[in-house]
Amino acid sequence: MTRIRSPRRVLAALLALGLLAGACGDDDGGDASPTTEAADDGGSGEGDGDWRTLRVPTDYETIQAAVDAAEPGDLVLIEPGVYEEAVDVTTENLTIRGLDRNEVILDGGFELQNGIRVLADGVAIENMTARNYTTNGFFWTGVTGYRGSYLTAYRNGDYGVYAFDAVKGQLEHIYASGSPDAGIYIGQCYPCDAVIDDVLSEYNGLGYSGTNSGGNLLIVNSTFRYNRAGIVPNSGSYELCYPERETTIVGNVVYGNSQPDTPAISVALLGMGNGILLAGGNRNVVERNLVFDHERTGIGLVPFPEEEANDVVPPQEDWERPCAETRDDPLPERSEEELALVLWDPVGNVIRDNVVSGSGLADLALGSLQDDLASLGNCFGGNTFETTAPAQLEALAPCEGDPTATDWTTGALDLLELMAAERPPSIDYEEAPTPEPPAQPNMPDAETAPPRPATNVPFPVDLAAITVPERPEGT
């Protein structure tokens, strides 16, 4: 296969050979099809250097075959079609791209596990759809450097887009629907160094879930609607690196997350009817979001109750410990009594300058099963709202100055009643009435853009420039 190093080298090769691409001997062997190998037209910018384009199915019958034949820096370019594959990627710094987001479809047929599973650093996936997988549409795990752009993931049995134990990431221009856990998930990382930007997540159990993640983790400029619950950072000892902390949630539109007919895991049932729910979330910043129309709370800070836990809440001085340092920790020695029920309280969160309305219980809420809510160190300020629980929440826990109220009991959430309430049961993800996604925007220049591996992510975000979003038309 001709190795393309730069546009000038492409031109030189064309002149020398007098043809676009010769069907030369295939030194790469493997699964290359007998079709003419592609010569890339090169490109400029980040794709400069030593890279090839491997086309599917023109050069390789399957995506997996092309991925296996690719070398770091290469571009796997997938032509329109339905691919019944579960692809594993173990070569770093690949760019895997569909030519048309809506017509390059990976279909798991409710039998295959993951559309694309990435276990190599620096892999970018762009411009395609994954549906009907038993677990995840797109899945990165244990990697440094990942990017998902212009992806559609729907009707998958666990998550739509799933980044686990992965750092330095960018998830952008994504549509995710119909998963019982979360449409978008980033978990078990600290510091995560990741950005979620311009995603639409709907008809999932949770629009976003992030267990034990945080640290330079931004969720911005996105829409979470029609899920059981919208944005749900959460803590639990069933994953490493607990608790969740330091996620920044700015400039999102969050509405109508009381959807009763989605697939849903137990946490989604418990959290149903809330827009932004910090379920045992800590030291998060929730700012300048537009949140409306929720059965329970617009922005709620509540404990996450973990039954049969593996550990108790670690002391706060341990919260800044990077995940990587915890991997070989000895197993905690705890009594069964200690682990029977662990409550992960929300601690140290900042909720300010949001516009919240139309909540059944309270636009802003803070609850715990312990009496001293003030000691949790959460604050509320500058929000536009009508109701809070407890009443006068911004006076009880202001972000600036001293409290001007002291009554934490009036209008307080009855958490036990809420947790015990019957919720509409989960509907199997194969059977749920998840709408077929409308056509989603394609990435620019999919045919010609050079590969862009995930070696320079996340992209910078100007948080200060983000304003409260306008209310969408028709809502």
Binding site: E111, L112, Q188, R327, S335
Partner: protein, 159 residues
């Protein structure tokens, strides 16, 4: 069906892990009471026996003290083996418990004479294997890793 690099495993036997009531999936495998009180290395020595065991890679025999009754715990949480690496004496029984909410398996990177598939390792289940020969035994969960990346672990058995 074992995972092989290059493709995801076909999951024909994996119902979803959560129902409305939490851990919905049961298993025929023994589900022990919640552990952690019996953490790594806490079991008492019950008996010892000297066995002649073949050394890895050649025909030489070395005397290894088999320590009956010693067990070391590894927790399979979502989606990590904790601790990832353990060092044990030959004869130790390693006990993996699925303490997560996901399905997992425990598969040796080399060979197939130990390990447990998903169906025998649902949340709450445990799997035991006694390592009698010194050596390094890498393993992984094929649902959440490959032989070298993701949910992986290593048992180092010393003589």
């Amino acid at each position: 069906m074992r995972f092989r690099p290059g493709g995801n495993e076909v999951a024909t036997t994996l119902p979803r892990r959560f129902g409305a009531g939490g851990r919905a999936r049961s298993s025929e495998a023994t589900r022990p009471p919640r552990r952690h009180a019996r953490a790594a290395g806490v079991a008492a020595l019950a008996a010892t026996a000297a066995l002649a065991l073949g050394a890895c890679g050649d025909d030489a025999e070395v005397a290894v003290e088999l320590v009956e009754g010693v067990e070391v715990a590894v927790s399979a949480i979502d989606n990590t083996f904790r601790p990832e690496t353990i060092e044990v004496a030959a004869g130790t029984e390693v006990v993996w418990t699925n303490d997560g909410r996901n399905d997992h398996n425990v598969l040796p990177v080399e060979g197939d004479d130990w390990g447990v598939e998903v169906d025998g390792f649902a949340p709450g289940d445990e799997y035991r294997h006694r390592f009698t020969e010194p050596g390094t035994y890498p393993y992984y969960c094929s649902l959440h890793g490959t032989t070298t990346k993701g949910m992986v672990g290593t048992v180092v058995v010393t003589g």
